[in-house]
Subunit: 372 residues, 2 copies
Amino acid sequence: MKKGNLDLIKKMNRALVLETIRRDQPISRASISKKLGLSRSTVTLVVNELLEKKFVFELGLGDSTVGGGRKGMKLGFNPKSGYGVGVDIGRSNIIIIITDMDSDIVFKEIYPSTKDVERIADYISTSMSKSGVDTKRIFGIGIGVPGLVNTRSGEIIELSALGWKNFNLLEQMQPYFKCPIFINNDVNCAALGERSIDKTDNMIFLAIGSGIGSAIIANGELVEGHHFSAGEINLFVDREDTKHGRVNNSKSIGVFEQQVSGLAFEKLGYSAEFVLSNYKKGQKEIDQIIDQFVTYLSITLANMTSFLNPKKIVIGGGVSKSLNIVIEDIKHKVASLTSIPVEIELACLGSDAGALGAIAYAFDKIQTEDFM
Amino acid sequence: MKKGNLDLIKKMNRALVLETIRRDQPISRASISKKLGLSRSTVTLVVNELLEKKFVFELGLGDSTVGGGRKGMKLGFNPKSGYGVGVDIGRSNIIIIITDMDSDIVFKEIYPSTKDVERIADYISTSMSKSGVDTKRIFGIGIGVPGLVNTRSGEIIELSALGWKNFNLLEQMQPYFKCPIFINNDVNCAALGERSIDKTDNMIFLAIGSGIGSAIIANGELVEGHHFSAGEINLFVDREDTKHGRVNNSKSIGVFEQQVSGLAFEKLGYSAEFVLSNYKKGQKEIDQIIDQFVTYLSITLANMTSFLNPKKIVIGGGVSKSLNIVIEDIKHKVASLTSIPVEIELACLGSDAGALGAIAYAFDKIQTEDFM
DNA sequence: TTTGTTTGTTCGAAGTATAAACAAACTATT
DNA sequence: AATAGTTTGTTTATACTTCGAACAAACAAA
């Protein structure tokens, strides 16, 4: 627990008022006071401070109420008061996105991937200056990587694609920047990106690309597990697998991943897009491949639902674009396999999910750690 | 987020100091000050208040340090400063336990089960007065029930054993008592009871009795899911199940539960204890039954581990007592099925787990909600 | 024009933590 | 034995917070 002092309560109330204005704008000082239970005098003080720092604006007088009384001055949130930088370090590309507080993209650039930290830092600096955003207004940098991350220390535990192992990216990167940096797994980031749309407190995000991974949000928080390895559904097995002697060696590709992912199609000589776009067009072999895929995926989604009771499951990743044809199938199958209701959706954000999610992650962290 | 005012910071620091004394006793005021970053004057003020309310005691002067200096007055936590009441409402019995702040049981009584709230309240009141504990010192009552609970409203959504459905137990029960009441599912309570031993932030608790259920603790918090249904592993299915047309209807017993639980043995005409105590004693049929049980359970534990990366999985419930013979088997199988390490243990707390866990739940809630 | 209501500001009060000053208690050195 | 240096716990003055009351301004309805 945090230590309590006068500074803390000031920060708390400032964050609270700002959040209220952001969510319920336009809103008057008096309404904020009623809503939060803070006195009008306190709200006045806090709002004036926020006005001076340009976090909020006065929008003009509000409507008159029945029964008379002075009109309230409506306050609005300034989305340009802060910016976040999202960096998605992928196997081939590095995507850098800068958004304002409304998550509107103000800058985006794609660079070739590299494991050279100085160069990555240079990419980020370049993007920041190219965007024209005032550096002081950037609240943080979020970085998503396709590997295992110790989010507390900022250490990359394992990232085979770039050859990083037990490498503290945070310590290497932080000296280049004044604002705080936050690093997480790319799937976790993507999940937070999807979540930022509707703020669901309980959801599961599936990323189906050449491999398969997942991220879990429970009680409004990312579930990272004891050693940051939560979500490794590529390792799932079932009785049929064990019957055929399929197990997870540390070297081999996960048992589930071999059957449900883009890789599974490629092993059979097809691309995911090809197979899925030719579903139910007379080719028995293809239909069978898809049926197996849908069945095993649906069973897994049903079990996830029974286990965690998420409000919804979002399916993203490269393959998800082609999944429209079978999504209704999947929904029906899941509903037949568990009595617990769940919404199943395809992801909204496309290839930007990682970078946008990294920003969402950075913002989440700052809000909970520091208030502002 | 909570509103910040002067009262809040007082509460926070008071809770912080008390927690520190409790965990690091014996400890002096100066050490607390250093540890928490609070000034010595603040610590003095807070400690004197805690002394007056008998939450802590002065234990005497500490050892002298090298280099001189006044000896510090060592402070110790008073476990008798607070008591919790745990109520485990089962199908046949109601177990009521009262513990002090060290989780030492000071009173225990078992009553026949009933759905009559007034009678249950009377059981609790009777236990409280019989125990001789000062009512003012009781910080809360925790109640565990074998059914679905809305822990926010206190409503029992479904409890078939007692015929409760959409029944607000909290509203009915609260008028009988001055201290706050908290209600949760019995498996969730048992999980918290097991957790209170070593304070693991990421664990899964399995209750294998006549049925099977689970509770999940992630990021130090109970995962309840979107509609308080998390942990319903009785509904798990796999490809072999679907191949044989086994699905989860709302009426029938869960597919997984039919194969891995006490019920599964009973269906074959055996008791769980009998089967497990006769394992590998020459009876082929029994060996086969157990092997299937162990295999499916291990696969499930491995998948849970891959999915949530818990520090440990604790297996409790009525059947767990007989599981000693196969626990090593299970550990080996799980390790071969997932590359993510996990500790697997049998539960320590026996039939008291529910009631003790209910106290742990109540204490958890009070600490996070109210600080004190 | 008057009355009652609502909004936002100002000011004193109450309460918090903190640093600095201080007294007490102790060790080590001379 | 005396002294210096160190640590502990308390006291005091200060700075800061929120809050309630009082107030003026702005408005609707009678």
